[in-house]
Amino acid sequence: MNRIELTRIPFIKNTLKSRYPQLAVFIVMLVGYIFAILAGLIGTPVGSHNFSIVFVWIAWWAILILVAVPFFGRGWCAVCPIPLPGEWLQRGAVLAPPDKRPKWLNLRVPKMFRNIWMQNISFLLLALFSSVLLTTPNITGIVLAAMLFAAIGLSAIFERRAFCRYLCPVGGFIGLYSQTAPIELRIKDKQVCVKCEGKPCYNGSDAGYGCPWDVFPGGMTKNTFCGLCMECIRTCPHDNIAINLRPFSADLAKPSTRMDEAFKAFIMLGSAIIYAGVLLGPWGSFKDAAYNVGSGAWFIYATVFLATIFIVLPGLFTLGIMTTKGRQSLKQRFMSLSTALIPLGLMFWVAFSLSFVLTNASYILAALSDPLGLGWNLFGTANAAWQPMLTTILAPAQTLALVVGLVWSARTAQKVNEAGASTIPVIVYCFVATSIMLWLLL
């Protein structure tokens, strides 16, 4: 089904299989991450001149939402430093396994938590405090450190990458949106897996570890939970695992059948709309409400935020799909049709992010030369002036992103829709949401 296998190219296969290139990237990322924590904690409290704010919420966020997620799915997870110290301690090694005796508790995550609700909650927690988080270096430093230590702690108690799979706030939406990406990791031939003994891709072997993401590659049909860590490519004794180039959003033809994922789609859609209005709009009182955490106004803001995400958006969606009858239950149709909101949400975030990234990207140059605000000038750019970039293409780019998102969602709605029911309510819903987003951003 028009897939191009990238791992057929020896250079790509060998680079991905070897542990050394990956380790080099890991070390750079980990050092950068720890430096960002330090910068947040001891550097200048002025966000726009602190490495942690500029490189996390402007540079990294831009690369994540504009490049990594749309084009590489969980590509960021492949290089993320957060799970590394915990995983190395858990494994008792940095490279290939000396022995496979578990070093720590290695408990299985309880069934109650084996879904993405914890990730929905952790994302919402950050989202409600986002105005403070995005502008205050020491808060960013604390949150980054908290995630690192949470990952280490969870690795000490549970097996595999429990933090990444069940707690990471970023992983929740990267996983959902990775279904739209044009690359995938899949097995080549199912029969080979059927005959395989021991399933080392999941259980590990002398060549590598069992899937840290608790995924059985042989049964994987969607990108959602594969973190592209390459362990299975190393352990598979039959060379049966490949990385393929594929059409965009191939996974979305198979609708979601889970409530946690459906609500994740609404969480991302709702938060993009609210951020566009509160952060990029001209209404000062909303910004004050969002920033003054703990005040009465903030409680109202938090209530409106949560009500929009859990009641208004899903409620209107349900009313819409109730107008047309199908054979499936309303609950099933809610879950499968909410799949259509995935490309829409991704494009909403792209359009929203373009605005504040292009406006503030010039801070990256200054923060590179003086990351802590101590008066350094490492690369000579410490006095680079703030200057919005590419402002003439911003509005057209946002329109393009949103209209493409709308068409993409409409197409997805058609693919996941059951025969006999109409897709018009979903498409109208997407159109109204897109118009609201256009009005807020333009």
């Binding site: 050092v31 002025v46 001149h49 605000g373 101590l374 008066g375």
Partner: protein, 164 residues
């Protein structure tokens, strides 16, 4: 333990120590004077020690909004202290005493409260012709153009008062 594993572990630990140690070390070595709106603490530190004749090299930064810096009892142009950036200034005192420094750009309702002191100890430095003998111990590069201007101004005032 195999060689690659050992090297990898060393690299990782070295990287982490560098990422933690280097910023901490450099930060501790850079004493900054932080300017904040008076409601949030004002100048920090707000008392600075100095000696007459010894150039006082200050590094100032703002933690919130645009502030300014000037010292009373001294003829100087005020300098802007910008958020997240460092302003460097060198002051030399000829006379011991307590000098007040204050904010020169409006930074809120309590802007006028934003002040600190420089406690200058040491002897009077008053030599209308040429440099003070003890200053000859310092290489000339220590004296910035600014302090020369300051000394000349003092000189002119002293000459004027002598004439009267």
């Amino acid at each position: 333990m195999k060689r690659p594993e050992l090297i990898s572990r060393i690299l990782i630990v070295a990287g982490i120590l560098l990422a933690v140690g280097a910023p901490l070390f450099l930060w501790a070595r850079t004493p900054l004077i932080h300017a904040r709106m008076a409601e949030d603490g004002g100048w920090n530190p707000d008392v600075i020690q100095a000696e007459t004749g010894k150039p006082l090299h200050l590094k100032l930064t703002s933690d919130d909004v645009v502030h300014g810096f000037a010292v009373g009892q001294m003829d100087m142009q005020s300098v802007d202290i910008l958020p997240g950036k460092v302003t460097e200034i060198t002051l030399t005192f000829d006379k011991p005493g307590i000098y007040t420094f204050f904010c020169t750009r409006w930074c809120g309702l309590n802007h006028w409260r934003m002040r600190g002191t420089i406690e200058v100890t040491g002897g009077w430095i008053s030599s209308p012709q040429g440099a003070h003998p003890s200053l000859l111990l310092f290489p000339s590069t220590f004296l910035s153009t600014w302090t020369l201007t300051l000394r000349t101004t003092r000189l002119l005032f002293q000459m004027k008062s002598h004439q009267q």
